[in-house]
């Protein structure tokens, strides 16, 4: 599967990379859906011997391929939210030198990064690779509600129901892009939704 080429943007928008094996005794992978492909690309027996993989398939069919890599620990979670306690537990008694690798959708990478940063790893030391859906995790700046997997601009806030336009301004702390009322200066004048990258 080819990787999506994100258009150039502003400096708060995250830039996703390509996973590379780094020195270290312990390696923690968090991935969802097509993110498994990025792990498959970087995996070596040596790397896997010190690796813990937390994978959320979200309907994708890569769990067995990841298991076959024989990582030291493997967990298939039913959802990202359900995997968070395990992720926190893994970070809780990790040592400096732990390498963190995130792969898949922006929403899951962003949330897992926020966990790793809160545990004391600088965000610049965390590796990422985007795979799969380009849908965004959006925060409504007005009601603060999060709407997951947003594919169109504008979209309707799942909480307060306002029509929001999709900004590229991104908060690592909230793991979300900002959504702002699109018709604030002309109530009811809402443009036809289009794909974010159309």
């Amino acid at each position: 599967m080819t990787k999506f080429d994100f258009p150039p943007s502003i400096k708060s928008r995250p830039v996703w990379g390509t996973l590379q094996a780094r020195p270290g005794r312990h390696h923690l992978f968090v991935a969802d859906a097509e993110g498994a492909q990025a792990i498959l690309d970087v995996a070596t027996p040596d790397l896997m011997a010190g690796s813990h993989i937390i994978y959320v398939p979200r309907g994708a069919d890569h769990a067995d391929a990841l298991r076959a890599l024989e990582p030291a620990q493997f967990h298939e979670g039913p959802s990202y939210a359900a995997s968070v306690p395990r992720l926190r537990r893994a970070l809780q008694d990790a040592k400096m030198g732990l390498q963190v690798y995130l792969a898949g959708t922006e929403g899951v990478m962003g949330q897992a990064m926020a966990e790793a940063v809160a545990a004391g790893i600088p965000h610049t030391a965390i590796q990422t690779e985007h795979r799969g859906s380009t849908a965004r995790r959006m925060q409504c700046v007005h009601c603060k509600g999060i709407t997951e997997d947003v594919e169109t601009d504008p979209f309707v806030c799942a909480h307060c129901g306002l029509n929001l336009f999709v900004r590229d301004h991104y908060s690592r702390r909230l793991a979300a892009y900002q959504g702002v009322r699109v018709d604030a200066e002309d109530h009811g004048n809402v443009p036809e939704p289009r794909g974010i990258y159309e």
Partner: protein, 356 residues
């Protein structure tokens, strides 16, 4: 002089007004007849007597009412004031900086009595008389940053300095030009400025960051920034934009002079001693077009700046749709005469408006 504090509002019925004194000391931000971004930093070590630059933290006739407006904002949305855990020491630094500066600069309004770490703070305009232990969070009703910035005009960004960057890790932000502290908290200098057009390409932020990283203790700096606001609304936050945005459409040729305000930020920068953090106070001054144009030099110049501003900047500053109406109004104050250099009103030397 003794300041007569006004009893006024910055919402609903908008009873905010500037006295003649406040108009003539307004920090007009344009030093020439055009505007483009620049780093435009200078030392913050006083200024002409009576000007907004004279004191480290300017107190004016709007003080009491601005603090009442801030309390209303915080009651509705406490996320406007946040401090990440490692920023508490910087909060104490800020509390000390403001208490010392205000008690020295306005001894009739503020007093600070220090006996070792036992401090007594008297704020006469707000009727506060509190005794607490310096650096002991348990002896104040709020965190140190929130406590003192509930008593000081202007927004406050408290920036951690590390890895050759500045990080927006604490702040009190209730009078902002349409940006969200809650969203930007934890961002670095380039990230929180990301939505600003043009300036990145011009290298403005690279140069500004280099300057700010090197601000030293005892050597604060300042600059001006500006935007436009319809109605004297302090809380132009993204959080409430779905409510106030529509006010931009209420301008008419008849009310624009009273309703349209130039919004100027006096931004200052102080190195904080114990935390090595940088505090970035952003003080907002509002002045209606009607009042501004009573100063003939400012009337002429404002027309020319608004007329010639690149469209990206008028869009970013949120007034591109209203610009034609603004220009219709302002053109009556521009008789084509040259203006003197610099920001000062030059009331004695600039010629009065030559009526068409």
């Amino acid at each position: 002089m003794t300041i007569q504090f006004r009893d006024e509002t910055f919402r609903d019925d908008y009873t905010f007004r500037n006295s003649r004194w406040a108009i003539e000391r307004f920090p007009f931000p344009f030093h020439e007849d055009s505007f483009m971004y620049s780093v435009n930093m200078e030392q913050h070590r006083g200024g002409p007597a009576g000007s907004v630059y004279e004191k480290r933290f300017d107190v004016d006739e709007h003080y009491v009412s601005e603090m009442r407006d801030r309390a209303l904002v915080l009651a509705e949305d406490p996320l406007r004031c946040q401090s990440l855990p490692h920023m508490t020491l910087a909060g104490w630094d800020l509390l000390e900086l403001i208490m010392v500066a205000k008690s020295e600069d306005y001894p009739d309004l503020f007093q600070l009595h220090r006996d070792g770490d036992r401090w007594r703070w008297v704020n006469r305009p707000l009727g506060i008389d509190d005794t607490f232990t310096f650096l002991d969070d348990t002896t104040l009703p709020h965190g140190p940053m929130e406590y003192i910035t509930r008593q000081t005009q202007g927004d406050f960004c408290v920036l951690d300095q590390r890895d050759d960057n500045l990080w927006m890790d604490a702040g009190m932000v209730t009078t902002q030009a349409d940006w969200s502290l809650d969203f930007d908290l934890g961002m670095n200098f380039f990230e929180w400025h990301a939505p600003v057009p043009k300036a990145h390409e011009m290298g403005i932020f690279q140069r500004a960051l280099k300057f700010l990283l090197n601000i030293q203790q005892g050597a604060p700096a300042r600059r001006l920034n500006w935007t436009m606001t319809v109605n004297p609304l302090l809380d132009t936050s993204p959080e409430n934009y779905h409510r106030w945005g529509i006010q931009k459409t209420t301008l008419t040729p008849e009310n624009i002079g009273r309703k349209q305000h130039l919004r100027v930020e006096l931004q200052t920068f102080f190195r904080l001693p114990r935390s090595n953090a940088l505090v970035f106070p952003i003080r907002c001054y509002l002045c209606s077009f009607e009042d501004l144009t009573t100063v003939s030099k400012w009337g002429r110049r404002l027309h020319r700046v608004v007329r010639d501003l690149p469209v990206e900047l008028a869009t970013y500053k949120g007034f591109v749709d209203n610009r034609p109406m603004m220009l219709d109004y302002l053109s009556q104050f521009d008789d084509g005469l040259p203006t003197s250099p610099g920001i000062w009103p030059d009331l004695e030397t600039e010629p009065p408006l030559r009526m068409g």
